[in-house]
């Protein structure tokens, strides 16, 4: 029970992280498509006030995993060692690029940091997807809960496709965020991207869905045995296909909400397929997989954690909402901009 509750807390944190950092990673992924310096600055400043706050959720997720499921934390982090190093590098270079870029006028300087910003954003989004793909597909974990594979094992086709899908998803999410936050010429530029972004995501989403149904029977197991859960894939499908409809009608705000809902539903689908596993073992799925039961802290610790969360999280959310309220509206460049 305690384990389940903490799993839900982590799930909620993951949804928040993907919805929030998702759009600013997406904006980063699209950065090089903007041709003029002015446009690039507008897009950068659209995420300027919030991107680092969004990234805090990844720290909360990691800390929450360590606290509640130390065994899963230990296995995943030591197993995915090199991938995590690239993830850290991506996150930090991205932060440096945002801070450094507009500090000098030189063309070479700005092009270098623009490229760094964009590539690092794509890298981070891709690694997040790749991790999710590997958690679905499974990795070689032995009976001592240790990873025994190679680095190249992470790049199996299915996981790579989940990685690409994630980049496409965040790119779509970021484009929609930008339409909401821009006006004038920059807004027109984003309008030109939006259909392509949505179409490319829907293409990759369908490919991933198809591959999951064909090759990942353990992911569809629950839908067959508990038919009412089929409601979630349907909801996910409806949310995703609602996005282009709303964009066409010019309801950018609603489109963003539905894009966020799509992300949330996709993560719910992930959980429905994987629960109660956190990471599947390909060596002996039934015994070696890390579940929320064989990897958790004691009930006493989980109880303390839940108390902390119940007191703390409402405060954190209230503050976050306050910040987004202060910075609502369209972006304008001024002396304090990037």
């Amino acid at each position: 029970m305690m384990q389940f509750l903490w799993y839900m807390v982590l799930g909620a944190a993951s949804v928040l992280y993907c919805v929030l950092d998702g759009f600013d990673l997406g904006v980063g992924a699209l950065h090089l498509f903007a041709k003029t310096d002015e446009e690039r600055r507008i897009f950068l400043n659209a995420i300027g006030p919030v991107w680092d706050g969004n990234e805090v959720w990844i720290v909360i997720m990691m800390g929450g995993l360590f606290a509640g499921f130390p065994n899963a934390y230990a296995t995943i982090f030591s197993g995915f060692y090199t991938l995590f190093m690239f993830l850290i590098a991506g996150l930090i270079f991205r932060a440096c690029a945002i801070e450094f870029r507009s500090k000098r006028e030189g063309k070479g300087w700005r092009s270098f940091w623009d490229a760094t910003f964009s590539l690092a954003s794509i890298l981070v989004a891709f690694i997040i997807g790749l991790l999710l793909g590997n958690m679905i597909e499974g990795i070689p974990i032995d009976s001592t809960q240790n990873y025994v594979g190679k680095f190249s094992d992470f790049f199996k086709p299915y996981s790579v496709i989940v990685g690409i899908t994630t980049v496409a998803l965040f790119a779509m999410h970021g484009t929609i965020y930008l339409t909401m936050k821009t006006e004038g010429g920059a807004h027109e530029t984003v309008r030109k991207w939006i259909n392509k972004a949505i179409l490319s995501f829907i293409f990759w989403y369908l490919v991933t869905t198809l591959l999951t149904i064909i090759y990942m029977p353990h992911m569809t197991h629950r839908f067959i045995h508990k038919p009412y859960t089929i409601a979630f894939p349907i909801l996910a499908f409806l949310a995703i296909f609602n996005v282009p409809r709303l964009i066409k009608k010019g309801k950018d705000g609603l489109a963003f909400i539905f894009s966020s809902l799509s992300i949330a539903f996709l993560l719910v689908l992930f959980s429905l397929g994987t629960y109660p596993r956190i990471v599947r073992s390909t060596l002996d799925p039934a015994v070696n997989s890390l579940t929320i039961y064989n990897s958790s802290s004691s009930d006493k610790t989980l109880k303390i954690l839940l108390i902390v969360v119940m007191i703390g999280v409402p405060l954190v959310l209230a503050y976050g909402a306050f910040v987004y309220r202060v910075f609502r509206g369209k972006v304008r460049l001024d002396h304090s901009s990037y």
Partner: protein, 451 residues
Amino acid sequence: MDVLFLSRLQFALHTAFHYIYPPISIGLGIMLVVMEGLYLKTKDLKYKKMTSFWIKIFALTFALGVATGLVQTFAFGTNWARYSRFVGDVFGSALAAEGVFAFFLESGFLGILLFGWDRVGPKLHYLSTIFVCLGAHFSAVWIIVANSWMQTPAGYEIVDTEHGPRAVVTEFWAMVFNPSTIDRLCHVVLGCWLTGAFFVISVAAYYLLQKRYKEIARSMMKIGLSFAMVSLILQLISGDSSARLIARYQPGKLAAFEGIYQTAPKTPISVVGWVDAKNETVHSIKIPGALSFLTYRDLSTPVTGLDQIPKDEWPNVPLTFQTYHIMVMMWAVMFILAVLGLFYLKRLETKKGLLWPMVFSVVLPHIAQQCGWISTEVGRQPWIVWKLLRTSEGVSTSIVKQQVFGSITMFVLIYTLLFVLFLFLLDRKIKHGPEDVRQDDFIYQNIGKMG
């Protein structure tokens, strides 16, 4: 060089680089409370300018602290998987409390500090400053709880699971207030206060030398020096108390601090010297009986030497000895500077020979803290959790040395980049000075939104 050594090196790199920033946040946090308190009391605008100047530097430091702290959340699991499994249950609650309470308090109210001057009243603004300061201190509390538990474990039991033994919390408050928590917390926080005080002293000395913002610089100098003096005296008491605690719980560590190989009455302390580890002797200027006196308040009682400790439980004595002595020496240098500064306070602007060392004094608390941490962490070896888990038993088994070598190279690159960024932005802010409050404030606007 094996995975164990490289992992230790990498973790040392992470913590050493991270620990540049939190002490500045904590120390400046308390300085801000003093400065803004003076503003509220006197309504003198110079204090307001001073406060908003240091808030900007606080925000910059905080951002770097978060970025380097992000790496820490990965570092336990990537290289210390077995350790993470062992301590996860104990660390869990401390980490969660830190994340939610301390971090929220600090980042949440920082926004109001930065751009809330016009949006909230002066009292509410001051309250936010106090909250930010408290938040910074709370984050120290939880991380010291976790680290102190590794030094003096309490409130736990060892449970054998199919994946090896692990520590499970039995009494939460006994775990939190384990025997060394309070002493170590005081010692660490005072170190942070010194960091803040000498940062303020350094910038004030720089402005006085440049003959800029003279009035503000004079007040900053006064605040910095007084605060440094108080902290230095308190640190003396705290250091003494910590050493006696270590004598009781980790005698081998104390022996390594002073290079005591043989247990003998009238145990001396060394002022300076070097350790000949091969022949197990220390060549140094000694004060006979001083360690006996400091530990037991009695000149003749022998202090436990390394001969009482099994040899496979000895830490690296030369490294522990030197870093410990450098830490103590830094205290002495800071003390001399603070005394001279206070003595010449009225005529300081003419004393270039004193102002220049003061500009560079900003590094003294940092050297002391880095060395202090090395001595206490290396002094705990070979244990990662005192007497419960050896460091060699805590390292990940699924990584190879090429991976760790690669990541160390990457981190050296990243940390160099971050440090250059930090110095670059810091330099701009200091050169910019405390007069103009509005301009060039993008970074702290940003950070204000963190949370």
